[in-house]
């Protein structure tokens, strides 16, 4: 019983004074130092174009770096490569369209989802949304997982190279609805909850990043609008 009281007292004393802390001091090192970010290309979250990096997550990370007074050191690579570097704390952060469903749960500390996006079945804004997609011919970009999901519905999938050029029902990411003058039919094929990855156990750093993402959660839609433009 004494142990219990001691633990409760310790908790009360520690509230608010720098807990949780990092076992390896990542946050302290990044602050006014260097933030080492691994980046995998993934539209519209992270793009590498002739040495310039853009995308929703790149913008967010740049803002975080400014807040922390840190300068960013980018590393381009495949997800598996970057996560392996994260595991040995060779990187502080990995971005590039990661979602909660990504297979890295056991090897990285994923943040809470900071944004949710949907892949929707849409029709031109000039048309009325059909009550039901059964039998509807729906254009979908080939090679996307949405194409596979569409196969399982009653709609008739038509594979195309560019949904922007189609003038009927299409499968698109929801942030493209306005740009392509489309209307959501209410049929959502996939929901993605977006996260970033940090080294496991660096809890002060994880919590700092999660607080940042929470504080800026309302700006993601606007960023998507700019960065997601076709």
């Amino acid at each position: 019983m004494r142990m219990l009281v001691a633990a409760a007292l310790a908790a009360a004393l520690l509230t608010g004074c720098g807990v949780p802390r990092d076992p390896e001091g990542t946050l302290d090192r990044v602050r006014d130092g260097t933030l080492r970010v691994g980046i995998t290309e993934s539209q519209p979250w992270a793009r590498v174009d002739r040495g310039r990096r853009t995308g929703v997550e790149v913008r967010l990370v740049e803002r975080l770096a400014t807040e922390l007074g840190a300068k960013i050191e980018w590393t381009d690579g495949a997800e598996a490569e970057l996560i392996a570097a994260l595991e040995v704390r060779g990187l502080d952060l990995v971005i590039g369209g990661l979602t909660v469903d990504s297979p890295w749960q056991a090897r990285a500390a994923l943040t809470r989802p900071y944004a949710t996006t949907r892949v929707v079945v849409a029709v031109p804004a000039s048309q009325r949304a059909p009550g039901d997609i059964a039998g509807l011919r729906v254009a979908v970009e080939s090679g996307q997982d949405a194409a596979g999901v569409l196969e399982m519905t009653d709609a008739v999938p038509v594979e195309v190279d560019d949904v922007g050029a189609v003038s009927g029902p299409v499968v698109v990411d929801e942030w493209l609805l306005d740009d392509l003058r489309l209307r959501d039919t209410g049929v959502h094929l996939r929901t993605s909850r977006h996260v970033m990855a940090t080294p496991r156990g660096e809890n002060a750093w994880l919590v700092r990043l999660e607080r940042f993402l929470h504080a800026h959660r309302d700006e993601v839609a606007a960023l998507l609008d700019v960065e997601g433009r076709p």
Binding site: M1, V19, T198, R200, R211
Partner: protein, 240 residues
């Protein structure tokens, strides 16, 4: 002094209460456990804790059934069988969690504990939720255990005794887990796995203790007092 019937009815009430409480404790631990190994160990323990109360309640139903041709000695051994099952699962699970925790320690596994927003009021470090969840998993149990102990002695019921002692000792595992969580908060990554190992050792020890009782009973050991501390004295010597 209450009659055995009254004691038994009181014990039944307390065991139902224990089960209801444990279900709520498991639910609370499930939502707050995160990636903490110590939380996982306490959660496993809480999942098995309804075992003894259920065994007691089941035994209460079938214990007094009359012997039949197939079961000429009646049903009273059902209690020992139930205790054997519960204690074996505790013992095995304790070892499993111990192995898991020690190997995490050896691989220097750093547990990530981030933010949650359970009430929609803004994010909060999950570690701060683990502490009250752990407290809830042990404090009511301690009172239930204390209330059940005299009943177990009065009724000379080993399952009830095992259950009461487990409830009462819960603060040890919860306290260890709390220190583990606070340790992680302070940046001591190993605190979580060490706390989990302590919890696992305790589960294993509980299982071992009850396993011995159950096996001794089934092996028709010389009669002892209810907690096996001594041989039960005969009320009067038998004639030569």
């Amino acid at each position: 002094m209450s009659t055995p019937g009254e004691l038994h009815r009181k014990a039944l009430r307390l065991e139902w209460l224990t089960i209801a409480y444990l279900v709520s404790a498991v639910a609370l631990l499930s939502v707050s456990r995160g990636s903490s190994q110590a939380m996982k160990a306490v959660w496993f323990e809480a999942i098995l804790s309804p075992g003894p109360p259920i065994a007691f309640l089941v035994a209460a139903r079938i214990l007094r059934r009359p012997p039949s041709r197939r079961l000429p000695y009646g049903y009273h051994r059902a209690v020992s069988v139930a205790l054997l099952c519960v204690s074996l699962s505790l013992f095995a699970l304790g070892l499993l969690v111990l192995y898991d925790s020690v190997s995490r320690l050896m691989q220097s596994e750093h547990p990530p504990i981030g933010l949650v927003d359970p009430f929609g009021t803004g994010p909060l470090w999950l570690g701060w939720l683990m502490l009250p969840a752990l407290a809830y998993s042990t404090l009511p149990a301690a009172f239930l255990g204390r209330a059940k102990l005299p009943l177990a002695r009065g009724l000379h019921d080993r399952v009830l005794l095992a259950d009461a002692e487990m409830n009462r000792a819960g603060w040890l595992t919860a306290g260890a887990a709390m220190l583990g969580v606070v340790g992680v908060g302070l940046g001591l990554w190993w605190a979580d796995a060490v706390a989990a190992s302590v919890v696992a050792l305790n589960i294993t020890r509980d299982g071992w203790k009850h396993l011995r009782v159950a096996v001794d009973d089934l092996m028709d050991q010389e009669p002892t007092v209810v907690d096996h501390a001594a041989v039960d004295p005969l009320p009067r010597p038998l004639d030569g």
